[in-house]
Structures are given as C-alpha cells and as structure tokens.
Amino acid sequence: MTSPAASAPVLSMNRVGKRFGATVALSGVDFELGPGQVHALLGENGAGKSTLMKILSGALRPDEGEMALAGRPYAPDGPLAGRRGGVSMIYQELTLAPHLTVEENVCLGREPNRSGFLVRAEARRRIRETLAFLGHPEIGLDEPIRRLSVGARQIVEITRSLLDQARILVMDEPTSSLSLEDTERLFQVIRKLKAEGVSIIYISHFLEEVQAVADVYTVLRDGQNAGSGAIAGTPLEEIIRLMVGKPVTELFPHVDHRPGEVLLAVNGLKGARMAEPVTLELRRGEILGLAGLIGAGRTETLRAIFGLDGIESGTVLIAGRPGASNPRSRIRQGLGLLSEDRQGEGLALSRSLADNITMSRLEPYRKFGLLDEKRRLAAAAEWMRTMAIKASGPRGPASSLSGGNQQKVILARLLHQQADVLLFDEPTRGIDVMSKAQIYEWIGRLAARGKGILFVSSYFPELLGVCDRIAVFYRGRIAAERPAGDWTDELLMAAATTGKA
Amino acid sequence: GRTDSGSKPGVSRPLKIAVIPKGTTHEFWKSIHAGALQAARELGVEIIWKGPQKEDDRAQQITVVEDVISRGVDGIVLAPLDDRALIRPVQDAMRDKIPVVIVDSGLQGKDYISFVATDNYQGGVLAGRRMGSLLGGQGRILVIRYQSGSASTTERERGFLETLEREFPGLTLLAKDQYAGPTTETAYQIAENLLSRFHDADGLFCPNESSTFGALRAVQEAGLAGKIRFVGFDSSPKLVQALADGDLDGLVLQNPVKMGYLGVRTIVQYLRGETIAQLIDTGVTLVTKDNMASAEAKSLLTPDLSILDR
C-alpha cells in the first residue's frame, strides 16, 4: 500500500465475500487500512461499499474471508462487538431513534452510567461541545430527533461517532445531506482525528471531497476490487474510469432548453412550518436551483408548494390556476415532489420496485377497472433499465437495494409520473458520478420538453452546472436570485451564510 | 325397535354418549359431569364431555354439536345455551339418528326425546320467599343479575322479582339492572361498586354461583357480612363455609349430579328401547344454616365429585 503511514495496518480484510440470495454483493474483496490514514472507498451504486463496511462494523456477517484488527483476528458477532473492537460507523441510512432526544441518540448503546443508573451531566457537556465544534450549537440536546431536518440528523449522527473515540471511524456518505459549510467543518474534524492517529474510511460520491480529504483510495466494482492507490497524483478521470470501467467525458452534460411562459408562480407563500413567506416564479423549460444551508427552509417551501403542509397565507398558481392545496390535487395539476427523506417518505420499502415506480400514476394500466400487471411490470422494468437501477427485477422489494439505487427508484417514479413541474429535493443524494451525469442530462431533456424544475441542492457544483437560475435561501427567505452564470461557488457560499448577495 | 348395541354380549363397542354442557369451568357443570360419569359407569357406556370453547357462547356450542355429530356418537345430552339457536343442530342430530336429551335449560319444539331439568323459576320463587320472610316484608333490596341472555338465570331472576312483587309489596328494589358478567372478578367489582353507593341495603340476591361468590367477597370486604341478608344460588366450598358462618342466609340448590345422571340414563334407556319420561324435574331445594346439616342438604351442598378424579 502506498499509505503515508506505512506502518502495520490497523485493519486488513482478506477475500471477503457476501451474497444476498442470488445477488453477489461482494466476492474476494481485499481491503487494508493504515493508522491515521483517511481511506476513500469508492464505487458505483450497488458496488458493495456499504455491505463491506457493514461487515466491518459487525452489522452483517461475511460468507467468506477474514478480518484482522491491528494484526489480531477479528470476527464480530454483532454491532456491539464491532463497537467494542474500536470500530465506529456512520451508516448510510441514518440510525437514529426518532422519539429519542439528541442527547439520548448520541449516547445510544453507550450510555454513561453508574451501576445501571444514567449519569448525564458529563455526557451533555461533551455533546454540546462537539455540536458547537461542528458548527451547530443551535441543535438542542433535548429536541426529539423526529423534529429535526435531515441535515441536522446527519450532524447528530456524526456527533455520536466522534464521541465514540474509536480507532477506526467509518463514514458512509456522511455529507450526502450536508451543506458545503458543514462539509468543510467535517473535514477539519477529520484532519484533527487523523492527527490523533484515528483511521478513517470515507465513502462518498463527491470525488472533489475525496481529493480534499483522503490519502488513499480503494475502488470496488460489482463487488470486486477494481483498483487502489494514493490520491495524490491520481487524476480524477482515472478514478472514475476504475469505477465505471470506461472513461467518462462529461460530468455536467448540457441539453439545450429555453424558458417559456410562467408555469409555477408562488406568491407570498407561507406554510405552517415556514419561517417567512416566499415568492418565486418558475417558467416552462427552466431549471431553478435553490441553494442554502441546513434549515434554510427550502424543504419546507417545497412541501408547502406541494400541499404537504398547511398553508397560512399566500398563493400557488400552476399554469395560472390555483387548485386545492393537497398532494393529490397538486399531482393532478402536474406537480411532482421528490422528498429528501428517502426512507421516511420516499419509498415503500416492503413493496416491490414496480409498485414504487408506478405508485403515483396507475391509471394508464387500468383496463376495465383492473390493472394490467404485465404492462405495469414491463413499464417498471423499462424505467429500471433507463435509470440503470441495479436490482434483481421489478418484483423485488425496494429494501434490498443499495442506497443510491433506492434514490434512483424515486427518481424513476417522478419521471414515470410525467409531472410538468418537478420539485427535486436533493435528488442526487447518494448517487454515483456516472449516474449523476445521466440524471443531469435527463433534467436537461425534461426542461427541453417544456417542464419546469425546482432543484434544491446543497451541492453547489451541480446547481452551477445544471440550473438556469439559482436562488439562495437564508433563514427562510430568498436572499438572492440570479442567473446561474452570475454565480460562483464562493458567491453562493457567501450568500447562503450571510444572507447578503 | 331399536337394537341394543351397548349391552349385547359379543358386541365389543360400548355406546358413546356426548355430554355437552354450557361451559366447563363452573362447579355446577362439574357436578353434571360427575352425575353423567356415574351413570356411564353403572350402564357401561362411554362419555365424551365437551363444552363450548368459550363459556356461554351460543355459536360455539352449535359448532360443538356439529363436531360431535361429525365424529359419530350414539346419543347426545345437551344443555342448550339457547332455546332457539340449538334447534337446528339438534334436528341435524336427530336426522342422523342420534337421539338428544336436553338437560338444564329448555329447547323450543319437540325434536328431542326428553327434558331433564330444574324448575328455575321455582328456584327464584324459593329465594324470593326466603328473602321476604328474612326481612319481614320490609326493606331495600339489590339484585345482581348474571349475564344478559342467559335463559336459566333470567328465569330465576324473574321468579325472584315476581315473588317479591306478588307476596312482599313492602320490599323496594334499589337496583336490578346490573349484570355480574362472566367471572367472579367482574361480579366482585359490580357488587363492590353497588355497595359503595347502597351500603345501607337490606337484602342482596344473586342467581348463580359465580355471581354469588363474587358478591360474597364484596360483602365480606365491605364489612357487611351478616348485616345484609344475602340469598344466593348453587354451591361451592366457599359458599358452604359462608352459609355456616352466617354470611349467607340461604342458597337455592339444584341437583346437578342428578341432572347429569338422569340425562345419561334416559338416553341409554332410550337407546336400549326402554320407555322414558318426556319431562323429568330434578327439583330445587332451599338450604339455610338451620337445615344444612341434613343428609339431603349435605349431598347437594358438597356433592361427591370424586368420580371425576378416577
């Protein structure tokens, strides 16, 4: 290994294999982690990254292969053994108990106690410190998790893993719902931990992040090692080639489209959960980006437009008509929403992919009152092909998919729905580089077909690469709005943090 | 001309008689069971004892009758939970050449061979007279009913209430719409709550064992034992004790052992071609502290159930 700290590895995994029924998730994977090393684990959606890390943490048992921690054999029989072995993990799907408070979640499984009775004061102090360190002193320790936004939850999750004081810290897409600023702070934390000798495995589909923070990389493809090496000196294109097996030319493919008449007019809209009224306008064939920090109010705005939250004041006009404010009539009016909370309100995890993809538009398959299952399955399969969803078939349950592939299923549903106005809330969360490019192309084509797209993202490069206009949210209101060409990363950041354009 | 398969030498298979009570857990049914077994022993027949899954569930009793018909038995002794609902299954049985003797509670129509029972109304009358004479015709009375829809206890309640009305107009009723419910615990609570309001009541009547026992516990706990005149129905060791202690002033007793015995004997007689009576009254007896030592009362109060353990 070309690790900078070339001493004995703290972790080595040898010829690890894992199957789920007929699916081979991993086969013969080797992985080695040096002390104080930041090791990026990369690969397409469904490549096996999360599975490998779950094996490391003890959440899954490997079918074959061995592991060793600091030279000693390691075969955890459960997450507790993993945690005891010094492995702390941030799972891709958040592992928080919604009814419990921030404090309780952070301490979960490791409650400081005196003969069974909880001792809280010291832990509370440390949690508060860590939250402040992560730049979120506003997150209250006694706030139940279910009242927090997805981004805030991610911060809580990170706080927990930091307080673990583990030797090996695994982060499975920790930044997928973090803003740039929060990501930056996380990197500072990672560098500090690294200096203290903690080894970190970092999974992300944001390659620029990887370049900024990682020392070495390992790429998985279809459950096998595809290559590894030092980050320094390896060009991005090479890593991408290892991931997808072929060179990728265009990361932000552009499709020509031209804004037309106003499609969605939001005027002084204030939803039940919004801090301030919002006014915005979206035209046919236009992609409007919404930037901002966690809690800036973008999600709440989309929800109010879609009729998910009650409306206190203001109007929403779609193609000039008001319509009732509930999801059903909004869908009838041609709106479609992709939620940022994939598992919470995106997928029906126990249902089949076909069900998930076609759920919002079943009418076309209705014949004499009955559903034509053959056509429905065929349509679902077609969308799965189009979106390159890696799964065994349209009948399998959504729960068996990898995180990125689940996200693609929700996207497929929205496209299948043929909505006129698409409200995307972090649509590319957890999606690999290659597929992202594909999705951007799709969005471009949708715009070219005269649809309007509201694109919420905390990943500024994609906003800059895809949108026609970008509005920046700051504390519940739109602080600034300009054509995409007039924005840069820095300007967006400045507007999002200060509220001044 | 029925052939006698039960006692004919050379035919090895003894008669199989299904005895279907309304429930299986009350003392009363244990006694019926004992009587039935007694008869079976003497007559050399086999008994299948099978009550509905849930005590006092009409629909389930129908199911039990259907199932024993399916199984194939020579005769059925049935204590019907309903005088209408059980008609059809009994008809089915008779049509399948399985004769049915009805015990304990009546069944409408005539599709059975004999009816062996207590006069429940008369039992209520006895209780009413006892209560009236205890109180000298003056006082305020609580009646705790058993369960809505239970025919035999409803008859007893009616007998009691009508006797009071007819013969003791000086007695007033404080409550007569409270139902003890299926278990002793529910009876206990109802009685406790009633006594909480009417702790100065003079008399209390309950129409069966579980309600009597539940109410007895409440009376004892409220410190009213011996102060309130209390007439109940049926027997169990605790009730006998209470009678001896003066906590109870009278128990109306049926003769369930006899009922079970006669039920089985009647059907076997019928199967063997003997003549049988259409209607057999097993009698009711009022037992008080004074007469409880008599041999007759003893056999009713503490029936010999040892046969069940053999």
Binding site: F306, P327, R351, S360, E373 | R58, R71, G149
Partner: protein
Amino acid sequence: MNSPNKLKSAINLVAPFLGLILVLALFSAMPDVSSRFLRLANLKAVATQSVIVAMGALGMTLVIITGGIDLSAASNIALSGVITAYAINRGLPPLLAVLLGILTGTLVGFLNGLLITRLRLVPFIVTMGMMGIARGMAKWIARNQKIDAPLTWVNELMSKSPRPSWLLLAPGVWLMIVLAVVMAVVLRRTVFGRHAFAIGSNESAARLCGIRVDGAKVAIYAVCGLFLGLSGVMEFSRLTVGDPTVAVGLELDIIAAVVIGGGSLNGGEGSILGSMIGVFIMSFLRNGCTMMGWPNYIQEIIIGIIIIAAVSLDRVRHRSAA
C-alpha cells in the same frame, strides 16, 4: 436441470398450504377420528363453521394491510346480527333486513374510519372504543336478551343441507368463496388494492404519491365493516336468533387468521389466500380437537402451540426463500 425446477415450483405452490396440510395430516393420522375427519359431511360442517370468521377475515385483511386493526369486529358482527333479527321481527321483508344488517356493519366501519382519520387516533383505540359502543348498542336494541325472529330464507343461508340440494354447500359458503375471489382480485389487480398496500407500507410516501390516504382509509374501514355486517347476517342465519352476546373475543380469532396467513400488523403485507388458509387452520384445529374429545384446556394449549408453530413455519419458509 428441469425436474428439480419443477419440484421447486411445486413446493412453492404448496408452501402457503403447509400449515393447513400439517393440521389435516395430524388429525387424519389419529386412529379415533381418521375415518371421519376428511369425510364430506365433516368438511361441510367445517366450511360452514368457517364462514363467519372468514367473512370477517376478508375485511380484516384489508385493514391489516394498511397497518390498521379492527378490534370492534366481533361487536360489529353481534350488532349487525341483532339488527337483522330485529328488522325481521318487526315484519320487514327478509331481504331488506339483510341489507339493513349489512348497512349497519358498514356504518360502524365507516365511523371507525372517520374517527381514525379525522381525530388522527390510532386504529387500536378507536376500534377498541367502538367495540364497547357497538356491543352496548346491540344489547340495548335487543333489550339485553336475544331476539327470536321467525324463520325465513335468511336462515337457510347457513344450512348444511341447502335447498336446492345440488348446491352441496351452504349458500353462505359459496358466498364466502365468491367474495374471497373478488377481494383477492381487488387487492392484487385494482388501484384501490395497490393503494391499500402502499398506505400500509409507508403512509407518508403514499401521501406524497398523491394517494388520498384519509379517503382510502375511510373506504377501507367501511368495506371491512361491510364484510362484518355480512358476517353478522350469517351469524344470525346460523343462530336463528339475534344474540347480542355472541362472538365475544372473536376479533382475536379473525386477526389471528390474518396474521397466520402472513399479514403483518405493521402493514404492507397480507393476502386473501393466506388469510383464508389461516381461517381454515383454526377451524380444522377446533374441529379436530372437539372430535378427539380432548378437554377444552388441552385444546386451548394445543391451539396456542399450533398458532405459534404455524407462523414460525411460515417465517422459516420465507427466510429460506429469500
């Protein structure tokens, strides 16, 4: 390569019936009853006995699929039966009385749905409250007694010796079969059915997909009520009297049948075929135990054990299939 595949698909076909087959095999092997257990007459009896629970299970399956529960099921059956008897007793034409009974059931279900969606209460509490309300109403209407109604064709519905005799099974059994098929089709092949599954699997996702969750729920509880009303009519038909105290605790039997058949109380899972198998597992168990003449307590213990065994068998099968 072909024959093992065939074998496998044969196993898959049989698999859901495993528990039922087990129960049937068990009693068929008992020397005491083996000769009579699988006889037509007994099968007819069991089928007729199953109708009431089965009709309830059809509705309950739907409710459980949405992640709900209906504890008022048994009370609703009693109430609908009482209303039917009351109406016939009052001299209404039997058909009208039957419709009235079904309507009552539907209304109670509708009310459940309305309370659940309007007050945002959990189904457990609403239907538990309704359990007392419906039972109380039934007793009230019947004046705490059973209602004797004159015999009409309604009482033929559950007769084991149906007229015309070529029917072979009671009309109620045929109705149960037809309705089961209809409901199976509704669940698998209609938008309504898909929506029920979606709501049960993830209610907020369903809402996001534009499903009228509240409306669907009200409809689902009403449909469940409709089946319970029908069940009540069948109960009346069987008893020939309207009994307000009947079927106490039957809701647990109905729910058990659905769960034994693969329904999940967390919602999103369940099937009509499964529920019907669950119903028949319970019926045959009871029937067999009674025929064996086992005491009730033994029967209770055995049924308890078999419920657990049947469901765990099903889970093992599922896990090995995955």
